[in-house]
């Protein structure tokens, strides 16, 4: 279930984000940040969270959470098989493939 990092809930007074939060966020997004980038994101992300803080300050009592920009109901599809794509086309675009399988650096189960 969603867990909000308490540090994310309250951006720093100076508008900058805690360096650990930036590192953790980059790790979750699998981004390798250079030290100067990390510094820049502290400021940028802090500012973005500041905008959200403005929204948080609004009184939304009684307003149901909006999960989608339109009120459209979900369109449903009938359960009928349709052809997909030629596997060779797809596998041919992969960095590595063999005997019909995509090959990737080993991941530990």
């Amino acid at each position: 279930m969603t867990q909000t990092d308490p540090r994310l809930a309250a951006p720093l007074e100076h508008g900058a984000l805690d360096a650990d939060v930036v590192r953790r966020t980059a790790q979750l997004a699998r981004l390798a940040l250079q030290p100067d980038e990390a510094h820049r994101y502290q400021a940028d992300l802090g500012r973005i969270l500041g905008y959200f803080q403005d929204l948080q300050d609004l009184d939304t009592t009684g307003v149901p959470p909006m999960v989608h920009p339109t009120d459209a109901a979900m369109p449903l599809r009938e359960d009928e098989v349709r052809p997909g794509v030629d596997p060779q086309t797809i596998l041919g675009q992969a960095p590595r493939a063999e005997t019909g399988l995509f090959l990737v650096p080993r991941v530990v189960g």
Binding site: M1, T2, Q3, L28, R30, V67, H68, P69, T70, A72, A73, M74, P75, L76, R77, E78, D79, E80, V81, R82, G84, V85, P87, I90, L91, R96, E98, T99, G100, L101, F102, L103, V104, P105, R106, V107, V108, G109
Partner: protein, 492 residues
């Protein structure tokens, strides 16, 4: 651990069950879901996670989820929402799994479990196990580790996007046996509804167990989640092991650490996989590609009317209307094919359904297990089996003859029903002619003078020996009741 120490601790268990839905196509695209195709042949831009591809929900998947919810007494949410569960893994091409978080499709159900009581025929324990929610989600692909080189994993995305429901139970179970009973009941319901094929070995039905222990009346203990439980046996073993492990730690004055643990059937223990600190941060948020799923209450009522008779009601009816024992009723309802075989036998003329049910569960299955035939043949041969059961039950076949007929029939090359007919003809008739039996008994007893003497002087346990000797002369074909009666008269 002594019994008194164990009694101080109470286990608290909740199961999370994933079931693959029996649809023809995947949950968000029109690729087939069939098992066993060549790798990466059931794929398209949607399930490959290509940029710009958009998911469109499968109506059949929604209906199966709703049917399941109704069968376990859930409320069906008039509006539910799909969310992205974010994590990186090569068999998850989009970098997120589409699942449901805050607003799942079904809420608040329950299973009423009948647990074996003191005797097999009087289930005395009842457990009301609540179901918290059922939600729809997509399956991931399959990773094969070490394929294509030791430092390589191979990925097959045929399974990616297969529709799943996750059935989340409250921690209402109190022992490994209760957890097994819960999973069995759930599986029987899913099979009965045609929602899932229930195959645990192929992974169509998977189970994670949350286990903690506490002293009754005190707050709940720290829980561990056990993964990799692929059979009823491993569920029972894994939970029993985990309860022992936690009780052992607490009795030693140590603490249970909240973590995810993997069950190893070979090593017979659970092993730490990741701690709470290393736990994934999935960052759920509503999937902007998918509007809310709105389900019309009228449609829900139509699905409710279409529900079949559920396992609990079926068991009750088998017992009340046909006199089937509780044990046999539970066994029959576990697998739809068993029930079909039973019904085929009843329609084929089984004289006493209760006896036929027990015969099917014991003698027929024992013969099947010794052979290389599939269960489907038992169903097509149900009429012959029921006839054999009746003949044996009414004394037309001795135990030995029954055994011969079943062994020969199941071993034969022909289809089972024909092989059984051949074997039944071949075994001949039971010897029940009184004069012939009396002659045989007299002849046997004449040669056993000393033993007869001993019997008459009080060694009554020799009676079985006399029966055996008479049956041996009759090649196992004597009418057992008649032989017993004659022997009693002669020895009396």
């Amino acid at each position: 651990m002594s019994a008194s120490e164990a009694a101080r601790w109470q286990a608290v268990i909740g199961l999370e069950v994933h079931a693959q839905l029996r649809t023809s196509t995947k949950i968000f695209c029109s690729c087939p879901t069939s098992f066993g195709a060549a790798p990466n042949t059931h794929v398209c831009p949607v399930c490959l996670g290509l940029p710009g591809a958009l998911p469109v929900l499968n109506r059949a998947a929604v209906q199966l989820a709703v049917r399941t919810g109704l069968a376990v007494g859930c409320t069906i949410a008039p509006r539910s929402v799909f969310a992205r569960k974010n994590y990186f893994y090569p068999d998850l091409p989009k970098g997120y799994q589409i699942s449901q978080a805050e607003l799942p499709v079904c809420l608040d159900g329950h299973l009423d479990l009948e647990l074996p009581g003191a005797t097999t025929d009087s289930p005395t324990l009842q457990r009301h196990a609540r179901i918290q929610r059922i939600h729809l989600e997509e399956d991931a692909g399959k990773s094969i580790h070490g394929e294509g080189g030791a430092q390589t994993s191979a990925i097959d995305l045929n399974r990616a996007g297969t529709p799943l429901i996750e059935i989340v139970g409250h921690p209402d179970l109190r022992s490994a046996d209760e957890a097994v009973a819960y999973l069995k009941e759930l599986r029987a319901i899913l099979l009965c509804l045609g929602v899932c094929d229930g195959n645990m070995e192929e992974g169509s039905l998977r189970c994670d167990a949350n286990v903690s222990v506490h002293r009754p009346g005190e707050p709940l203990g720290t829980r561990c989640e056990i993964k990799n439980v692929n059979s009823f046996k491993s569920l029972r073993d894994a939970i029993a092991y985990e309860i022992d492990r936690q009780v052992g730690l607490l009795n030693d004055g140590q603490r249970v650490v909240q973590q995810t643990r993997l069950w190893s059937q070979e090593r017979g223990r659970t092993e730490a996989m990741r701690s709470k600190e290393e736990a994934h941060d999935y960052r759920y948020f509503p999937d902007p590609d998918l509007p809310a799923l709105v389900i019309d209450p009228g449609e829900v009522e139509i699905l409710r009317l279409g529900l079949p008779e559920l396992p609990a009601a079926r068991r009750a009816r088998l017992r009340a209307e046909q006199g089937v024992t509780a044990q046999a009723a539970a066994w029959l309802v576990e697998e739809p094919e068993r029930l079909r075989a039973f019904q085929a036998g009843v329609q084929g003329g089984a004289g006493e359904p209760a006896a036929w049910a027990t015969f099917l569960m014991t003698q027929a299955i024992a013969a099947l297990t010794r052979s290389s035939r599939a269960f489907a043949e038992v169903t097509t041969a149900a009429r012959e089996l029921a006839r054999i059961c009746d003949k044996w039950r009414t004394g037309g076949l001795s135990n030995r003859m029954l055994n011969d007929v079943l062994t020969q029939g199941f071993a034969g090359e022909e289809p089972l029903f024909a092989a059984l007919q051949t074997a039944l003809t071949g075994v001949g008739e039971v010897v029940s002619d009184t004069a012939a039996l009396e002659a045989t008994v007299d002849q046997v007893l004449a040669g056993l003078g000393p033993q007869v003497e001993k019997y008459r002087s009080g060694q009554v346990q020799l009676f079985g020996f006399f029966v055996g000797q008479v049956m041996r002369v009759l090649d196992g074909k004597g009418d057992a009741q008649a032989v017993n009666a004659i022997l009693r008269r002669r020895l009396g």
